[in-house]
Symmetry: C5
Subunit: 233 residues, 5 copies
Amino acid sequence: MAVYQTTDLTAASFSVALFGLAATTFLLLMGSAWVERKWRLPVALCAIAALIGIGSVYEAREAWFAGNGVPVVYHYVGWTVSMPLQVIALYYLARTAGNLTAGLFWRLVVVSVLMVFVRYLGEAQFMHPTLAFLIGLVFWLYLLGEFYFGRMDDVVRNATGDHLRRGYFWLRLIVTIGWAIYPLGNFLTAFAGMIDDGSLSVAYNISDILNRMAFGVAVLSTAVLASEENTRA
Amino acid sequence: MAVYQTTDLTAASFSVALFGLAATTFLLLMGSAWVERKWRLPVALCAIAALIGIGSVYEAREAWFAGNGVPVVYHYVGWTVSMPLQVIALYYLARTAGNLTAGLFWRLVVVSVLMVFVRYLGEAQFMHPTLAFLIGLVFWLYLLGEFYFGRMDDVVRNATGDHLRRGYFWLRLIVTIGWAIYPLGNFLTAFAGMIDDGSLSVAYNISDILNRMAFGVAVLSTAVLASEENTRA
Amino acid sequence: MAVYQTTDLTAASFSVALFGLAATTFLLLMGSAWVERKWRLPVALCAIAALIGIGSVYEAREAWFAGNGVPVVYHYVGWTVSMPLQVIALYYLARTAGNLTAGLFWRLVVVSVLMVFVRYLGEAQFMHPTLAFLIGLVFWLYLLGEFYFGRMDDVVRNATGDHLRRGYFWLRLIVTIGWAIYPLGNFLTAFAGMIDDGSLSVAYNISDILNRMAFGVAVLSTAVLASEENTRA
Amino acid sequence: MAVYQTTDLTAASFSVALFGLAATTFLLLMGSAWVERKWRLPVALCAIAALIGIGSVYEAREAWFAGNGVPVVYHYVGWTVSMPLQVIALYYLARTAGNLTAGLFWRLVVVSVLMVFVRYLGEAQFMHPTLAFLIGLVFWLYLLGEFYFGRMDDVVRNATGDHLRRGYFWLRLIVTIGWAIYPLGNFLTAFAGMIDDGSLSVAYNISDILNRMAFGVAVLSTAVLASEENTRA
Amino acid sequence: MAVYQTTDLTAASFSVALFGLAATTFLLLMGSAWVERKWRLPVALCAIAALIGIGSVYEAREAWFAGNGVPVVYHYVGWTVSMPLQVIALYYLARTAGNLTAGLFWRLVVVSVLMVFVRYLGEAQFMHPTLAFLIGLVFWLYLLGEFYFGRMDDVVRNATGDHLRRGYFWLRLIVTIGWAIYPLGNFLTAFAGMIDDGSLSVAYNISDILNRMAFGVAVLSTAVLASEENTRA
């Protein structure tokens, strides 16, 4: 294992992301046993998204240790699995409050997988970068549209639980603000020809920490609070 | 660990398969605790099939990183264990609806093991490739025959649960369509003398993702829905 | 990790044994939670025997990759732990039907450990090979004597459960037929001066797969069936 | 893996820390199932802090084996995750006795993360060392202030359980005395220009063993005793 | 991974110790769920002692593969964690029968840690070997004194359970006879200037197998038998 120095901020951010995601994974895995039956699935999905994060951050760090920057594909490989998992977690979170169609489920899965895949095609020059960037952007906006104006928002708005509404609000915010880094990074590497000299990885790591950890912890705390609310009522 | 570049689609597909199978394994392992007693075995078998998939995809990826393509044996080693597991999972899924003979169980196990083994013998030139290909094809068709016209189909058709019927329908479809790639790949490498330059591995990875992940998730969701149905009734 | 080719049957058999034992371990670990209290110990012991099998097969495979055959000690190291575990599993399986003395337990443990250890001493030329072979054979025959004509057979014969009797019959058969390969292999390497060029490892792998996997699965299915029988009665 | 000699006290202290933290992690993970519902979260958080400790000590030891001392960043990476976890554990421990505001929670999280981060910035010369040292000191004093004179102290003082009060007393002491080594080490490396020749790592390892292990075990024993107290009452 | 030959008895004994400790760890981890609440802690502590044994034996084996004998520090690192764990397990085992003071607990912990640490200081020449040997001996005799004539013996002698008395008798015997190898080995390496050419490691491995495995299994079987006794009564 290569030894990194104190001034290598990129390696430090990778290591912090690695340990932070490991901590999140364990907390969510244990937490999934503390909540009501119907809350287990969203918590478990976030735990798995964090677990996948451990693997992808570990491999990206190895690439960084090997020198010459981290090929951007390392980030996309992790997102291909973790982003759909988080979108599904949000779907099942909303579903604790009311019925949602299976059609919506499939639309969310397909769109979130394609969003990451199209961006990757653009980065790897398998597709025209501008086109890929725009399609990826449209897919992201579609997801935001579902979260803000779609059936999920309706169901949550009419839910009896106060905690669910607040949790949904914060999770949606993470998806809106936190995920905005990804099209931005996509834009920089695909158009501006930026090669990752470490600073992009630092930015991605901070986002991944926030998006995967904060997202998972928010889902868990919503689930715990809502479970307690029900038990008391 | 070798560093792969953004344009190396084969390595990316291996990594996505790896993370996707890890996510599936964890979801199914956790999910096996959420379903009724009699559903646990099929879910557990799918979890184990996905787990074996992690191991075999990991080793195939290492072979790819070492250069010069992935020897086809890497795929066969994984299938030898995972395909019989999936066939048995389907058997136990049907068995939740009614009694099935132990004889059928042993026929399914032996035929599915031999199907993979014979194909391997053909690929390794230990047996005449044409003969191996044809025997492998016959074994696969036998399995399909059991699923479509055998006792399992009878039992499922007469089941009370709506979810079981639908689940069985989809799982059978995966085995029919998804598994068709394997004799095709067998044909290409054994006869057309094709050496895997990455494109065959990409095809196999996509199939494995669909077959192992979709199969497992379909079994889990059938089990969860059928468990809830029973609880409500 | 060394890359093995499609025609390397020995490496393929090691890999299949590895994945098969991993699958068995997980199935038995999960299965130990599905059976009645008194059945947990024999199932757990078989799970641990399979787990140890993973470790020893993995190390033997690494030795094979390093070239020049697998030193026979790699097999003996695994057997030293797994064979006593299986003998104890059989003891506790019989004990679910009636009381067995602690003296029998200690005799079985000591004899099964010595059986493997003496064979090893012969192979490593620390003891005269012929003598070691004969002593090992006597120990094996002693174990068979206990299983066929000893107190364990009595207890099982008088058991009320039909499944236990059938399970015991099959397990005894595995120990009789499946374990016969080991003195045979011992004979070949110790006397005929055979050096393992791969074919002996293939034979050992097939035996280990059958002995550890079939043994474990037979114990689990006996336990599950007997547990259900009791619940219904 | 490099072999270390008997006289290499630093390597020995790393190995003892590694094994001790592994033992602590397992004990706390198992222990979190032995306590009352409301005590699970603080125990789980300490288990995760110990788990992260395994990772960071392992990597620091690898760096030591590679020669030329352990870059101080290796310690900071672990603390960034484990120190906030321990502060949160203390928060939830106090919270079992009465209500605490969410504002306090966020203040504690942010201050404990910043405390470690600012010290790191100083060590890496990204910020003026003196300034970083002083800010880190202020943050630590703020945390001590909250523990000694804040709302948490009030809540614990008015708790009915005797064990909670005693547990809180000891945990606060660990944070006061045990954590004092960190600003001290910070001072030595940042100002005195000390390069870690092993003796600083030994000091850090002893502190980490005490802080992570003693802290975790103290939380677990408080939780177990308080749970029993409640059951009896 | 280095390949060891059939005649390398030291490597074989390391491997058997490795697999045996892995088997013990799993058995005890699973077994801790089969016993009464109050028995869980001693069983868990023995499981953790065996787990630590896996790690330390693995590292010692790696050192052996690297050639030139195993530095004696590798054994001491494992004992520093596992011996106090076993002493505490014995304390909690006795405590199931009656109350024991916290003072006794701390004396046992401190003395058992110091016993191993002082011996290490002697081996590494950080302290005069004769002095270290004598102090280590005194600490061991103190522990034996507590076990034979102290409060723990009183409590166990007055216990109602027959199994507890018998279990305590055997465990004390293991600590008396099995642990006698350690001062002996200490004497040989520190005074007789013996360098470990493998035979000392074989002796240590056999002792470790007996001490960690037999100790753990004896605690588990005592716990299981005592739990059943209580359930029946």
